[in-house]
Symmetry: C2
């Protein structure tokens, strides 16, 4: 792959601003119960990196589409990601009190509110994914396809299945293959769906979508490996959460199976695979190239 000259920091910050603005507008305009709305906004605006929505927008741009046209879908993906964090943090699940350096939703509100705020974010995601007022049959078909792709990725054979697997695997030694599968479900599936969504709505052709799926698969794994590595060697102040928690819970992770050094090499290898998959694209895919490198080099 080629060295690219791309100002990712400014790209991310521009996109994050657009996403944050739209997220707040959507929540306010669809507001129902005040307490649920407050909790939804609290978790949604708690400083997420907006990886999924940015990937969705960058994928649309890579295939020659418009980032603005996929913004609603990008926001839906962030809502689904945020709902999954709220539910994962619950006492019955991972029982985490801090998330991105702030009290988790059930700590700031209460458990019932956190369950319902998560449910509401998931539901709102599908509400906005189906909110097009287009009368064009092709447009309606594309959005319906996106609803389907996202629902499969988020469901029991995707993200939810991965989370269940993660819970029942605590304290159990699992193989490298099982670990990859679990992570693919828990994190990778929604990341892939984010990229597919951008490519579908951006009118990508079959070859483009296939290459982007390879990119997504490898980037997703690299993302998860880096998460595991940061849980070993990260700085809690930079991360905004405690480190060493995986080891304390006897969770099987990439560094616990491979050692930290090999685990970092593997993340780099997956990133290189991701970058190679973008070779068919011109510089419209530079944001995706820069994001793949950022994901593996990040400190939080």
């Amino acid at each position: 792959m080629n060295k690219i000259d791309f100002d990712l920091k400014s790209y991310l910050s521009k996109k994050q601003n657009i996403i944050n603005g739209r997220l707040v507008r959507i929540i306010r305009s669809c507001a129902g119960n005040d307490r649920v709305t407050d909790a939804m906004l609290y978790s949604l605006m708690a400083g997420g990196k907006r990886v999924r929505p940015v990937l969705c927008m960058a994928a649309a741009e890579a295939v020659g589409g418009s980032a603005q046209d996929v913004l609603t879908a990008a926001c839906a993906l962030e809502m689904i990601h945020t709902y999954s964090l709220i539910h994962d943090d619950l006492p019955a699940m991972d029982d985490d009190e801090l998330r991105r350096g702030k009290p988790t939703c059930h700590t700031a509100f209460d458990e019932a509110t956190a369950v319902l705020a998560g449910d509401a974010l998931l539901t709102l995601a599908f509400q906005i994914l189906s909110s097009t007022d287009s009368t064009d049959g092709n447009t309606n078909a594309k959005w319906l396809r996106v609803v389907h792709v996202i629902a499969i990725a988020a469901g029991s054979s995707g993200m939810i299945g991965g989370q269940m697997q993660d819970i029942v695997s605590e304290g159990v030694r699992i193989s490298m293959q099982e670990l990859e599968k679990m992570h693919h479900l828990k994190t990778g599936a929604l990341i892939e769906a984010s990229i597919s969504t951008g490519a579908i709505l951006g009118d990508g052709n079959a070859t483009q979508i296939k290459q982007l799926e390879i990119y997504a698969k490898n980037t997703g794994i690299a993302f998860q490996i880096t998460d595991d590595n940061l849980n070993v060697e990260g700085d809690p102040d930079v991360l905004g959460k405690a480190v060493g928690t995986d080891e304390a819970r006897e969770k099987t992770t990439y560094p616990s199976l491979l050692g930290l050094k090999k685990s970092k090499e593997l993340a780099r290898e997956k990133t290189n695979n991701a970058l190679r998959a973008l070779d068919i694209f011109d510089n419209s895919a530079d944001p995706l190239r820069a994001i793949a490198s950022y994901i593996v080099e990040r400190k939080r």
Copy 2:
């Protein structure tokens, strides 16, 4: 309204069999994680009356459509209803150990599994609502509209908002108006959406859809009032759950505000409103007529 001669028992039993068969097939064919799938099936097949899917199918028939064509949507509505029960029963919410005479999901499995099974049912509902393989733009537009109608009804300005309101109202005396609003959100919104869904997918015209919405609104309230009444005077063995729990929790209910006698009169009045809204329909609406009467006369 006219006295009708309609064998509701056989109609319901036929529809329930069709719905139950399809629900099991959907869950098995979309199965992801085994434990989540088991918990989904456990709660989904725990003896629900299938009120929402039957209403959806009956509404399609009322406007001259086919019950078979809306079966997938009917199943999605039952999944959303079931997910809401699983989450409502959680210790952090209503903390119920029995539901329809059987251990609740978190009692039979555990809390983490119950949270995830609920999440998975909600997600699967949207997955199957978007699973049409039609290439017809009009069909895609109808299903996308149904996704939207159902998401709004299930979200924080619908069912979830009602559940939050219900929780914060425990032990607080609320007015008749607030009670109606809460129930409309908690139960009525999804019942209305069930009927709208049937009417939309059955190609009902605007007048038909409007009359069915009036039917749905009144039937939904009558359903809730009857639920409240049964919590006072029902037979726990027939109901499959404890009675007197609303009073013990100091919940404001129709009988607590009006007394049992007036509360039963109100349920009857709402049912009559529902029946009158069906006057524009011929005997294709007989199932809906019979269901409205059944809802207010039921013992469980």
